[in-house]
């Protein structure tokens, strides 16, 4: 009996490997999770998209639960999630935008054409604030609580699925908690 068992080793190793590969099928190897979760939002100070003379900073997020959405006109997937953002805005979610490495006029036209769900848009022409927030692809959406701490990062376009299962419940929780 013991001899037979010894020769089972390769099979056992393979089954373990297969298990790992099976798990891998449900994971996305391209996702880079953010190390900024549960850390204070990185400081920034940028001109507004619509009024370049005015500055917006992360201090403006304090006191409220905020959704910070990174987008650009050259980003095709941003178009996909846009209707959902409009919906959220209508439901009263405070959405600020980070217009990432974009062209001012093009961005303004885009918002005019498709609708503007944002309370305000920070204009990050060179992407430096994006780097501070760990942005590596658009669209990305952050949820920031009342104290200005990042609580969630959603990578890729928002979907009804992710809204239902992650974003909306978290928003509710953050709203109810004292920040």
């Amino acid at each position: 009996m013991p001899r037979f068992v010894r020769y089972l080793a390769p099979l056992v190793a393979f089954i373990a490997l297969a298990g790992l590969l099976y798990k891998g099928l449900s994971l996305d190897p391209r996702r880079v999770p953010s190390p900024l979760i549960d850390k204070p939002a990185p400081a920034f100070s940028l001109p507004l998209l619509q009024q370049p003379e005015t500055l917006i900073s992360n201090a403006d997020f304090k006191g409220q639960v905020t959704m910070f959405n990174v987008w650009a006109t050259w980003c095709v997937a941003c178009r996909q999630e846009h209707p959902l953002l409009m919906q959220l805005a209508k439901q009263g979610v405070r959405i600020y935008g980070l217009n990432y490495k974009d062209e001012r006029d093009a961005a303004k036209r885009w918002l005019q054409m498709y609708g503007d769900p944002y309370l305000a848009n920070a204009f990050d022409a060179e992407g430096r604030t994006g780097i501070d927030w760990g942005v590596y692809g658009t669209p990305e959406t952050f949820l920031v609580d009342r104290q200005g701490v990042i609580r969630h990062k959603h990578i890729g376009p928002l979907t009804t699925e992710s809204l239902k299962s992650e974003i909306l419940p978290l928003l509710r929780k953050l709203q109810e908690s004292d920040g």
Binding site: P10, L11, A18, L21, Y22, G24, L25, S26, P29
Partner: protein
């Protein structure tokens, strides 16, 4: 109409594969000769139908039939004919069809070239290959059908990925697949032997040439891929430890262990369990590679469009094939008899060390490739394992392998007196250490690595020469040498000889180009000159140039050495008409001892361009090494003792007698 026929042919092939998988195997166990006799004709039938199917897809590309979805995605009317053909295997579905075609090709090869093997053995081997066919044909038909239609029919196709519009890359997949699929022959032989319960030197002798040829194809495929990456990707890299590259390297490593293990089993009847396991492992790694490349589980610049649903299908297939084979192994292994014993110092023990070391290296590559997945699955954080990790690990383990490689040919079978071995190795040790020190003398980090590489290569060369000297001791002159090469068992030895030289050449190439290459990024204006090492580069500006299906900006760089012009290079930035992102074509002056390599960066305005200049010493030795290894493998596979049975049959003499005579040979 023709695509539908192609689809139908695949369905017929699947039916035949099912017959091929079941009847001969059952017949061999039940002793039903009619069922056993089905194996060969059914294998041929499958080959015919798969070929028809492949022909149908090729036809669709050649006539620009964009009503076929796959052709619409990857074909184009402007594509040159040779690339219309290579587009057939340029993406997922078509490449699978190529896989299946090559599998049925190997199957009929086995069916035709094994006339002298016992019929039950051949039946079982073909049945196992039939099972693999079932898996791949089902995968094709149910999840990745290349014959799916598209309505409305587009006017123009999506075009073949421009990167693939290249001869090297057109030939690279077929070579690799010949290797991957060829490993299934050794696999099938192993399974057949496990089922039949007869694992002996005869089995090893039957398997060995098939395995060698498959391994050679794999070597060629990997070498081609590396060479292609070097000249096509634009900055002189030739290996990136990318998951898909590793997926081809692991079967190669296991295959190398396998061919060495087969040698021992054939000669001494030892290592049977190891050899069987390695045969199962080599093909399993090929299949694993298929999974990794097509499932989306790992990020890679090479992978086909990833699809977890398809990945699941392949994974289930893997569970059956690999799980089933390993289970069979566990059942049968205890009753496999041990072969001849051997002493602690003997060629067997050194080859066992070699086997284990190769397996450790394979496991290491697997670890590094799957580590990101492992960490992500257990939520230990997201890490990435890249070139630096792989290279440092590989470089740490390989010298040990090379030491063994040098010592083993000089070590006797069964038992070797350590003192005698040391005596024969004395010269090699002395010369290699001396050579290493000489090269390492300028004590820089580059020279130390180069010194080690030179020491190892000289070690290999000197031990090979010592071994040759010992072998030819009783033969004289060139005549003696030629006679020895032609003798039975001769080509096996000289194959090893050439292949090991290939390794030495490879080691020199890799180390020298890594340590001593010179690279310069420069902003150049037309007429400007830059000196790099002994070479003077003059940038003569960039002009527009039109190709068959692309527009290019073509630079001219003149290279001078000691005042004489030695090359005019034309690095290009090409924009293929169907896509907007430009691609770089490097300008290369190839040489045996060095390459001069120039690539264009961005245009900086005013006719100025960012240009990258490289001096790459010994870089061609990398692929020269690969070619030598392949030649060695082919030489070994052509050893007359594998063919003597055909000759014996022609001569009408009894194969059994020749059998015994051959088994006594070195």
């Amino acid at each position: 109409m023709i695509p539908e026929l192609g689809n139908f042919a695949l369905i017929l092939a699947l039916c035949l594969a099912i017959i091929q998988a079941i009847f001969p195997l059952v017949g061999s166990l039940n002793r039903t000769p009619d069922w056993v006799a089905l194996a060969r004709p059914v294998a041929w039938g499958q080959f015919v139908f798969v070929s028809l199917s492949f022909g149908a897809l090729t036809h669709a590309f050649l006539v620009n039939d964009f009503s076929v979805l796959y052709v619409a995605q990857h074909g184009n009317t402007e594509l040159p004919i040779i690339y219309k053909i290579s587009a057939v295997w340029g993406a997922h579905e078509g490449s699978l069809l190529l896989w299946v075609l090559i599998l049925s090709g190997w199957t009929v090869a086995v069916a035709s070239l094994t006339r002298n093997l016992p019929e039950e053995v051949v039946a079982r081997v073909l049945s196992v290959m039939g099972m693999v066919s079932i898996g791949f044909l089902s995968f094709l038909l149910f999840t990745s059908n290349p014959f799916e239609r598209l309505f409305p029919v587009p006017v123009q196709g999506g075009d073949l990925n421009p990167l693939l519009q290249d001869f090297g890359l057109a030939v690279h997949p077929p070579m690799l697949y010949m290797g991957y699929v060829g490993m299934s022959v050794a696999f099938s032989f192993a399974i057949a032997a496990l089922i039949g319960g007869k694992l002996d030197s005869a089995w090893a002798r039957w398997s060995r040439p098939w395995t060698l040829v498959a391994w050679v194809f794999l070597t060629i495929g990997i070498t081609l891929g590396s060479w292609w990456a070097y000249y096509e990707l634009g900055w002189g890299g030739w290996w990136f430890w990318d998951p898909v590259e590793n997926a081809s390297f692991m079967p190669w490593l296991a295959g190398t262990a396998l061919i060495h293990s087969l040698a021992v089993t054939e000669k001494r009847g030892a290592f049977k369990r190891w050899t069987v396991l390695l045969a199962l492992l080599a093909f399993s790694l090929s299949l694993l590679g298929t999974f990794l490349v097509r499932s989306g589980v790992l990020t890679s610049v090479h992978s086909f469009a990833a699809d977890p649903a398809r990945g699941l299908f392949i994974l289930i297939f893997l569970l059956f094939v690999i799980g089933g084979s390993l289970f069979l192994y566990a059942l049968r292994a205890p009753s496999i008899s041990r072969g001849g014993g051997f002493a602690n110092l003997s060629r067997e023990s050194l080859l066992m060390g070699n086997n284990l070391l190769l397996l450790v290296i394979t496991a290491l590559v697997l670890l590094g490739t799957l580590a990101p997945l492992l960490y992500d699955a257990f939520q230990w954080g997201k890490i990435s394992v890249g070139f630096p990790w792989f290279t440092s690990m590989f470089v740490m383990f390989t010298p040990l392998l090379i030491l063994l490689m040098g010592a083993a040919p000089l070590t006797r079978w069964k038992q070797q007196d350590p003192a005698a071995l040391l005596r024969s190795l004395r010269l090699a040790l002395g010369v290699s250490i001396a050579a290493g020190i000489v090269v390492a003398l300028p004590i820089s980090s580059g020279s130390m690595s180069a010194g080690l590489a030179v020491a190892l290569s000289v070690w290999l060369l000197t031990t090979l020469l010592t071994s040759l000297q010992q072998r030819l001791k009783h033969k004289s002159g060139i005549g003696g040498l030629l006679a020895d090469i032609a003798s039975r068992g001769g080509r096996s030895y000289y194959g090893m000889w050439v292949a090991h030289i290939g390794i030495a050449v490879f080691v020199i190439g890799v180390t020298f180009v890594t340590q001593f290459d010179i690279e310069k990024d420069a902003r150049m204006s037309p007429g400007q000159e830059i000196q790099l090492n002994d070479y003077l580069f003059r940038f003569d500006g960039v002009a527009d140039h039109k190709g068959p299906n692309y527009n290019a900006q073509r630079g001219t760089v003149r290279v001078f050495r000691e005042g004489k012009e030695i090359a005019v290079l034309h690095p290009e930035k090409r924009t293929y008409l169907v896509q907007s992102k430009p691609m770089t074509e490097a300008g290369i002056d190839a040489g045996f001892m060095r390459d001069i390599y120039v690539s264009l960066g961005e245009s900086l305005g005013n006719g100025d361009w960012a240009v990258r200049l490289y001096y790459k010493p010994f870089v061609r030795w990398i692929w020269l090494g690969g070619i030598l290894i392949s030649i060695g493998g082919l030489l070994a596979a052509s050893d007359p003792r594998y063919r003597m049975r055909v000759l014996a049959r022609l001569r009408g003499s009894r194969p059994a007698a020749d059998n015994l005579a051959a088994e006594g040979q070195a």
